[in-house]
Symmetry: D2
Subunit: 144 residues, 4 copies
């Protein structure tokens, strides 16, 4: 039994949580990678996400950023629920009709609060958004 | 002809813009009110918006807040496009299976930037979220 | 003995804490008012606070906003320490050579987190800045 | 004449601007490095910056972060003034009686807005804070 095994089991439970979360199917995302303190999600192109100017609505980008920060933190929450306390996002470039890749990185794991940084980029590498978020640890588990 | 007429025509054009914006139908919102520097949107309950804990996902709330701030600013942009430069949202209480009312208020109209404050409350009056945002004026019009 | 007495004693202890906090003397502030869930601070004019353009530096304004949000929350923390988890400030107008009044309002008192909204205005009423912050409750008291 | 020369002259003018800015002497900072799109400032320890718990006040940290983001952007503003439109900071760890190093990185240079990311670390490498900011370009120069 290798040292990766506990993470592999835990990450599988995070993937199942991802699959059964309604909002992550509604704003259709793919969980591309989990690693300790890190996550990567992809948003597939869909014209229903567009704002009036034909670009992906900022709220849709924010939904993916919030989610990827949550999963980056959850890789280190040991089965406990996290809830988003706040997030903040700067929009750098618009994206339109293209895949958007969001990455999340745990900056600090405190006893009650987790801080994360998130970025969104097009597959071509344009930097779409940068974000920071705070998640609160709840005293109940999503996984026994 | 009353002094309300120019606003009435302009607000009608904002309502048409609202109706034809894909993301505002996708995350189904109702434009309840426009007034100079103010807007109110409602998010109808839909279980597809839920996070893994059965509450409305923060990104969905953020989508409505971004939108209501945009419309509050657009009431004063004289037909020019605005783009979200950044926003920040603090989540105060969870909402589940209920209507969420978002209000936006223009705080400052500058020559290039508009600042807005937004709040989301349940119909029962619970304060779900508070937000701040900055919108940039673009040099092109959505309305001739 | 009136119902105000417990608050009066507690607010006196907050005023003593204010008086002995080095940063609040360094960036010279006056604690003008405390009420349950609310606080008001004033920043006296001082040219040492200026940025290169002759206006009060945003960081100095942020210092006062962070402080007034902290005191608004501390009015309801029952003697427990709070620490700033994060804040965000939008700068609406510049201030120069004038008194700046900052107001703080507790938006939500949770079991671990307090959310506050803060605003800064000149004495003439110009809206200088608007802010949101999150404070974390610590398990130790500043007052027995 | 090397390709570095224009930058060297321009960075010298930024250093003179730094030296004559009152707030950067008041909250005593050292401009350690400028490079295209990047800046590094140091805050020297001073007990007058302390909050009531004996740690450096968040507003003082925010002052340095706002400044380092400003200088990172100003390296690319070609002599034009920038003004802070908004900033947001997450506090990860406290710092006390120690040097704090702040780094700023230009994320996006738009026609009107510059976005930057900033971080503060102790000399020992503890991550004190992470921040994002938006700066607006003004149509006047600090340098002819």
């Amino acid at each position: 039994m290798t040292s990766e095994s506990p993470n592999a089991l835990y990450f599988a439970s995070l993937r199942r949580l991802f699959e059964r979360t309604p909002a992550l199917s509604f704003v259709k995302q793919t969980l591309e990678e989990l690693a300790p303190g890190q996550a990567r999600l992809a948003l597939e192109p869909d014209d229903r996400y567009n704002n009036g100017a034909g670009c992906i609505h900022g709220g849709i980008i924010a939904t993916v950023l919030d989610g990827v920060g949550w999963f980056a933190c959850a890789t280190r929450s040991e089965g406990y629920w996290l809830v988003t306390a706040e997030f903040k996002v700067n929009f750098l470039e618009v994206a339109s009709h293209e895949r958007v890749i969001a990455t999340g990185e745990l900056l600090k794991k405190g006893s009650e609060l987790f801080h994360a940084r998130m970025d969104a980029r097009t597959e071509g590498g344009r930097h779409v958004a940068s974000a920071l978020a705070t998640y609160t640890l709840l005293p109940r588990k999503f996984r026994p």
